[in-house]
Amino acid sequence: MKIKDLRLLLWGVAMTLGVSPAVDAADGKLIATAGLIQVEGSGGGGIVPWATLAGYDTQEQTSASAGVTQVNLRDYRLTTYAAAVSFYDRIEVGVAQQRFDLKSLGGEIKQDIFSAKYRVYGDVIYTSLPQISVGVQHKRLKDEAIANLLGASDTTGTDFFVAATKVHLGAIAGYNAIWNVTARATKANEMGLLGFGGADNDDYELMLEASVGMLLSRNIAVGMEYRTKPDNLGLGESHWRDYFISYIPTKQFNVTLAWADLGKIAGAPEQRGLYVSLSGQLW
């Protein structure tokens, strides 16, 4: 582990543990039914935004969460710093900064993401139909050179998504099962890190994303995720997948490890590696 990674990890742990668990912290949901922040700063999931909000707030609570995620690939390293506030289990607002380190080429691409999510219907556990939310992720590239070089049409873009998430209590031989399906309208190339639109396509396209998981105990979840992506730049952009294990010891803190297979990125194939994410609830 490099010094930089270590610093990041320590920062994450300090940030999430150091914040003394406030007495009136939002705790209204059942453990492991909230609390994770995905790679673009929305409540998730790892690579997929879910219908669940980032925090443990219920209808009479608010919550704030923060997290850091790092995906270390062969030629790249992606780091996301994210913070999200949820209000009354209804609305989530998030900000995130992605730093995409071009390990083999040198350089870094930064992108800011402002996101919002609105829970339209349901409760992930208690309604017979899934919980359904709609969301947006507005993305602004801060380093535009590479996007322009590759022929992207824009350096800002907005994704719109609808997500459905459901927990089935005791469904798999007594283990709780969870699934999520997200449909996203997007023009983003590699989430926006390589800009939006391009020579091959400049229109919004509908992409499907899905997650399935199983809770092995109250504190451990395992599962996998899949995310389809457009190929606007004609670089053979890949669909993404990951296999994850999350440890959720308390409602204030969780850590996820995953094996992520992100395929071909900007022409460089076989981008696979370890995904590490720490998030914590501040209140």
Binding site: D27, K29, L30, T58, E60, Y126, S128, L169, A173, N176
Partner: protein, 137 residues
């Protein structure tokens, strides 16, 4: 991938094997349910939020009706002699957070009664549908 699928298949099949037994029987019947309810009442007594709701309640009655209720919903075939979920909880205006908190305490009660994780989930699944008859009334 194959390993994961095989594991899930195994679990599902194994789940089928215990299907003939009701959740009530898997728990171990009346004595275990009584133990869970006793533990639950202890949890409530030590919990400020929950205790406030039960301050004026007849705990002997609550215990008796709760044991019956769990017996009925877990397939134990008892007769429930209490009031409907809707009727009992109307006027309490129980918010979602307190409902979920009660579930946390029930899980603790089942932990104390050594109910295995997977069986706990089956018990919770039998209770989940009644939430809408209990909250915000």
């Amino acid at each position: 991938m194959k390993v994961v699928l095989t594991a899930i298949l195994f679990l599902v099949l194994q789940g089928c094997a215990s299907h003939n037994l009701t959740v009530y029987e898997q728990l171990g019947g009346r004595s275990k349910v009584t133990e869970i309810v006793d533990n639950f009442i202890t949890q409530i007594e030590y919990d400020e939020v929950m205790f406030a709701y039960f301050e004026d309640s007849n705990i002997t009655r609550f215990k008796e009706k709760m044991v019956e209720h769990i017996c009925v919903i877990t397939g134990g075939g008892c007769t429930y002699s209490g009031d409907s979920m809707e009727r009992v909880h109307t006027g309490m205006n129980i918010p979602e957070r307190d409902f979920n908190h009660a579930v946390d305490l029930l899980i603790a009660a089942m932990n104390d009664a050594q109910v295995p994780h997977r069986l706990q989930n089956k018990v919770l699944a039998t209770m989940a549908p009644s939430r809408s008859e209990i909250i915000y009334r």
